[in-house]
Amino acid sequence: MTENEAVERDVMEYDVVIVGAGPAGLSAAIRLKQQNEDLAVCVVEKGSEVGAHILSGAIFEPRALNELIPDWKDKGAPLNTAVSRDDIYFMTGESGAFKMPGLFVPKTMHNHGNYIISLGKLCRWLGEQAEALGVEIYPGFPAQDAIIEDGIVRGIVTGDMGLDKEGKHKEGMYTPGMELRGKYTLFAEGCRGHIGKKLIRQYELDNDADPQHFGIGIKELWEIPAEKHQPGLVVHSAGWPLDLIGTGSLGGSFLYHLEDNKVAVGLIVDLSYTNPYLSPFDEFQRLKHHPVFKQYLEGGKRLSYGARALNKGGLYSIPKMVFPGGALIGCDLGTMNFAKIKGSHTAMKSGMLAADAAATALKAGGQGADVLESYPEAFKASWLYDELYRSRNFGVFLHKFGALIGGALNFIEQNLFGGKLPFTAHDRKRDHETLVPASQAQKIDYPKPDGKLSFDKLSSVFLSSTSHEEDQPSHLQLTDASIPIDKNLPEYAEPAQRYCPAGVYEVVEEKDGGKRFQINAANCVHCKTCDIKDPAQNITWVAPEGGGGPNYSAM
């Protein structure tokens, strides 16, 4: 609370409250209603509408959807482009590359039977299915915090509206958030959810887990000339502009041919990178000049831009899933299968498993104070666990051995051992601890954008249709306001200026020669990278006023 008087909040009671209308949250909502149509289920979503904050590649494996809505085809699910071909390149330099022969492609990268989709569109469709079943979905209302009473999660409170920069009530506009109480609350905020992060800490959910590892995915949607478009073609690459042999900067890129001459192109940079001068945004921009990408993009038009952090730690980075009164699901939990670079089907499955557990508990008269133990039990017995188990070593192999050697080890594990090598590799260094001091790092001289294939940050953010009310408290909070200039700048040349894909963070030179750290919070595309990568762990991402953030249409 920002002002001293007690705030009168409206209260609504539900059986289950779900935070986040992504694949996990919506699948959980649908499943709950399928199990018992009388359950009162409510989903809150911080985006201005369902799908507005969804960003993914995306190649979609329909396994979980087949289970959830077997007749999805008849119901018009937007799975329109089946994968027709998988090309994988190892990029050796700014123009060199060799194509991996099909024989050596790890099984996890075979996409036969999968679809190239816009996950945002799929979520809109899932939202319609959920509403048809009677789920209440409220976009534009972020969960600000969990309601925790006597150690039990009892629901959430939505964000206050109408606060000014100082947090004071705006005349005639202040609208306090509302309490949405649920017997069970499922958190599906996506990767690095701001409440999920607090719950993990408060309930010590990650005590027995390896540290979570993250990547930042930057994506653009293009319309390309018809003669270059091959619906269903999937292109992946590793190596340049990131490391092929070394382990200082890892990641991979993608280019997917959707329908209607559209292609999705993007780069994922592991946030374990070591050089503070590295800029994921600029790496992506120069990547598009590589002949492998240029051959498709040249002559095309960029339609949209966005970025989002993703979890890639895998099975052993998954924290405990449950606590009294609720559970974590989807990327809030960390169910992405990074070896497949897919998290949608796994997120959906985790939501369905949690929903089953909640529905069973409610049927038995559960009042929510209990821990949904049957959810982790069902998880262990599911194909989801099996799939994540088979891929458990992938991320660690890459972190330790680089893209080429690590990739080869993964091939051996996946194709010769079916994902079941008799050992498990662990990576215990956290992503914010990996930067080397700027004094020991090589500056990177990125080429200037040409305005045709590559662009600057501001014109990019413009295409994310991001908007925030300007007069509101900053949703990017510094624990210690002096750290960026006094510590991060001399030690790491303040990497926030570069890892942020939206130009939120700037080091501004003052007239007196002093330096000032400026936060342009209105530019924020809600990727959460700053919350993850800041070496001092000094930046905390909280939800801004409802509806703020990007307005992705088909990302």
Binding site: D10, K121, E136, G162, M173, T175, M178, T466, S553
Partner: protein
């Protein structure tokens, strides 16, 4: 007094408009749609009139396909008591819209008809004026201030030269400009309540309205990209460059 407010479903103002590759229109695929912002202002004004006791009932009306019901639900969350959905799947020209709104007006007999001064999608700024003309009632467009006193309304209009204050007899059509008010945040409990408020669905045929011979959009194209500027070092160079472009 009854207040009728018309609202339109348009592309959200935050969305960067993209013209389709073949020039056949604007890309609406997966694009966020919202209530026209000027209609939100009209809606807010109507609700304030109700809160002040001037209006007894606020009725929202929209013309559009199935999904336009979302905007009616927003209007109901603002505080409209009930809503009318004139279901039309085709593009509606301002004249057709005015004919439909005239029919709805005649059915409802409101004391005041509020609407946005224009919709932000086609920027026509015609529907309010046409509706008032077809109904033969006064109009007060570009309202920046509205006062109701008995059966008269005093409206401060935002005109090119400044502000113009006029008085009109009611019923009248008043179109809202940007400064009329600042719409409130929709409250979650109000959105919940709005789901249960009545929406009446009617067709153009029900209202006895025929579409006006429409406009045909022949082509949609994005504004020309701005060419990069050049830097000149001296006045002579500047003059030469201007001459070169045939500007002096």
């Amino acid at each position: 007094m009854k207040v009728l407010v018309s609202v339109k479903r348009v592309v959200d103002y935050n969305v960067r408009i993209q013209v389709k590759g073949d020039g056949s229109g604007v890309n609406l695929d997966g694009v966020k749609m919202s209530m026209n912002p000027f209609d939100e202002i009209a809606m807010e004004e109507a609700v304030r009139l109700k809160e002040a006791g001037t209006a007894e009932e606020v009725i929202a009306v929209t013309i559009g396909g199935d999904k336009a019901e979302e905007q009616l639900r927003s209007a109901l969350a603002f505080g409209a008591d009930r809503a009318i959905h004139v279901k039309v799947n085709e593009e509606v020209s301002p004249l057709t819209a005015a004919r439909i709104l005239k029919a709805v007006f005649e059915k409802e007999q409101p004391g005041l008809f509020l609407m946005g001064k224009q919709a932000i999608d086609d920027d026509n700024n015609q529907t309010g004026q046409m509706t008032s003309a077809l109904l033969g009632i006064p109009q007060a467009t570009f309202a920046g201030e509205l006062k109701i006193d008995g059966n008269k309304a005093t409206v401060v209009r935002e005109v090119d030269a400044g502000l113009e204050t006029i008085e009109v007899d009611l019923p009248a059509v008043v179109t809202a400009d940007l400064r009329l008010n600042e719409p409130r945040y929709l409250k979650l409990p109000d959105i919940m309540k709005a789901k249960r408020k009545p929406v009446e669905t009617v067709s153009m045929a029900d209202l006895g309205v025929e579409a006006a011979p429409g406009l045909t959009v022949t082509k949609t194209s994005p504004p020309p990209a701005r060419a990069a500027g050049i830097k000149v070092k001296t006045v002579d160079e500047l003059v030469a460059a201007l001459k070169d472009k045939g500007l002096v």
